[in-house]
Symmetry: C2
Subunit: 214 residues, 2 copies
DNA sequence: AAACTAAAACGCGTTGTTTCGTATTTTTAA
DNA sequence: TTAAAAATACGAAACAACGCGTTTTAGTTT
């Protein structure tokens, strides 16, 4: 499966990344402040309740977190990375799924989880990150690597397993299947986010999996 | 059906709009320069071949079109409106469809046309406008009013007609049908635009209409 | 006379970077 | 064992660069 973005480090195991951010690979000197890091992520989530990703500025985060801008720029390559980190640092956002009894159920559970994640304020933020990624290559890499690709890979895996097991139509291109399954969700997120509600969450996943069934 | 955005005027029939732009309602004095208008739209399209909507600035348009910024701001409320106008001013972008023999065919033709429009540079631009609309209410109004709503209304109309004629499943919520039909297209546009190619255009519309068929 | 035109300059706010003096931790060496 | 040195972190402040929408100016077209 996909690795987490390399600029996200465990507190004690810094790693290297060629494209995103150069992280010191020694342990000399003063270690970074966990307090500052947490304050930054917390401030980011707090500010995102009242403004868009685009409106959010590094300056505002620094001010709210009572932290220097330098500290932020030292640890994240850009705003997208900070916001992405803040998102996934929220408790409950990456709750594991129970074991499905077949691939149909697996798909349904994954779609249900996705819709839950996109319902509400986090959904707005993710839509804005997705948007920002359209024109900004760095943002694109971070958004894809941290969020989109892992998500789609997991679904593609279930699709392929389901095709092997003859639960799903084998003639269907897996990429097409992903678009059929996820496209409507993201489209609704971006065009009528208010309709991404409980009713949709209860009806859509079953409907969607029907579309790819054998 | 939906009206075009009111800031888009015929050369000789200026209209009023409360929200977007106040347009003079008399015919006294010097009329606006058609040359300037065309130069602005042409310069916008030209610049968009090499940069994103976000990178594009009103200043750059004015410079390229050899026009004062004042002239642009007098006739369009913001960048989104200029870009939207430039897009639809392109020849062939709003080619009328031949008369379909039933609603199934109507849907297929509409989807085919949409995919054609989104394939290539215009697709990138539309994705960027869609993105910009996520966080900017003015951009949202212009994008929806000029592009998205008319498109979706037309498809919804065909869906409902098809349901009356028992071509499509009557149990399906029309909004859901629209998401099923258009979602995958826009999702592919924003996640893997290179895959919005001829093969997709030939396979997807037929696949999609199958999903809502009775 | 009225409404337009291009061009230039304006103040404002935001951006990412750099510089500053200081704090904390590890390494070195007495 | 302990104390100085080296390394890296920290927050605050100042920086230049940029695009924004507005205003001013002087000239043009109907």
């Amino acid at each position: 499966m996909t690795q987490p973005a390399a600029y996200i480090n465990d507190e004690d195991t810094p790693k290297q990344d060629s494209t995103l951010k150069v992280v010191p690979n020694t342990k000399k000197g003063r270690p970074r402040s966990t307090k500052s890091k947490n304050a930054i992520l917390k401030a980011t989530n707090s500010l995102l309740l009242h403004m868009s990703v685009q409106e959010l500025s590094i300056e505002a985060i620094a001010k709210k977190a009572k932290v220097g801008k330098t500290t932020i720029y030292r640890w994240w390559p850009n705003k997208t990375a900070v916001v992405m980190d803040a998102l996934i640092s929220q408790p409950g956002i990456q709750s594991p799924l129970p074991t499905p009894k077949n691939n149909t159920e697996a798909i349904i559970m994954q779609l249900d989880k996705l819709i839950r994640m996109l319902d509400g304020n986090n959904g707005e933020t993710i839509a804005q990150l997705f948007s920002e990624a359209q024109a900004d290559e760095k943002a694109q890499k971070i958004f894809s690597g941290t969020f989109l690709t892992p998500l789609l890979d997991a679904i593609e895996f279930s699709v392929q397993e389901g095709q092997k097991a003859r639960e799903f139509r084998g003639s269907l291109d897996p990429k097409m299947a992903i678009d059929l399954l996820c496209g409507p969700i993201f489209f609704r997120l971006m065009s009528r986010p208010a309709d991404l509600n409980e009713e949709f969450r209860e009806t859509y996943p079953k409907e969607a999996v029907r579309l790819i069934s054998a």
